[in-house]
Symmetry: C2
Subunit: 159 residues, 2 copies
């Protein structure tokens, strides 16, 4: 059962999730499905590109990060999705064989004006390689249920 | 062989790509891999959520859009990737069985200051359903090779 509500996220708090090993096969499989550029599919083409060697689609990095934060804390939270993404920056290539982690920093929290049962938590997510280099940053403000709203709802229940 | 260079994108121009039918199976498969929230995996959970019925992960929408613009024009262009994403807005759920299209609007073009061989093209991509509703907007500035640079390079070739 979910444990964490909007109230449980504090600005400035930092958490880490992972690691996850990224294989050549999954990089190529993802690229073939969604981002079939030669630089994500073929070693020779990647060497001739700005990437220098085979590297994951930037969208693959986003999806791997999503999975790591889902397992890391969203599945244990009253997570209600997000209205969008504020910004993504792809800073360094994600190579096959790399072991990645996610560092999550709470930038700010904000109650919803229109929906008192939820609030927004603005995160900076950083995708790190095994040396601690930042491969990608992602800024996003997902919504979480409020503990107050859950309590109010229970108070209204009959009996 | 790629045909379109940076110079071939004009601010204000609008193109459409697709359509593509999105199945329930692919929505669930993607969610299970990358975004395993009950609202993307299970009809009953989705009905109880803000989505109202089973709908694709927002990241899946991004990836489907990427594939549609890859097939639509990137594969025929001197596309060099993107430094990131400026903004994503998920406006309406993408339901199973929906047929989607992409509308691409060129917002502006800008030569690179540091790399004369490439330029940036800022796009607004809109993911549309079969009724023309905008499900998602995505603003991004991919890089493309410049025709001038290619010509200069050819001029320097021996023979």
């Amino acid at each position: 059962m979910p444990q964490r509500y909007w109230e449980d996220f504090s600005p400035g708090s930092v958490s880490e999730f992972g690691p996850r090993l990224v294989t050549r096969d999954e990089i190529v499989e993802f690229a073939a499905a969604f981002d079939p550029q030669p630089m994500h599919l073929d070693e020779a083409a990647a060497c001739a590109s700005m990437l220098g060697s085979l590297a994951a689609s930037g969208w693959h990095s986003c999806c791997l990060l999503m999975r790591m934060i889902s397992d890391g804390f969203l599945a244990q939270s009253h997570f209600l999705g997000a209205p969008g993404v504020d910004e993504v920056r792809w800073l360094r290539p994600l190579r096959a064989g790399e072991s990645i982690r996610v560092r999550a920093t709470v930038l700010e929290t904000r109650a919803s004006n229109s929906r008192p049962q939820l609030g927004f938590v603005k995160f900076l997510f950083e995708l790190l390689d095994s040396s601690g280099n930042v491969l990608m940053t992602l800024t996003v403000s997902p919504m979480f249920g409020r503990r107050d709203a859950a309590s109010a709802s229970r108070d209204r229940m009959p009996g």
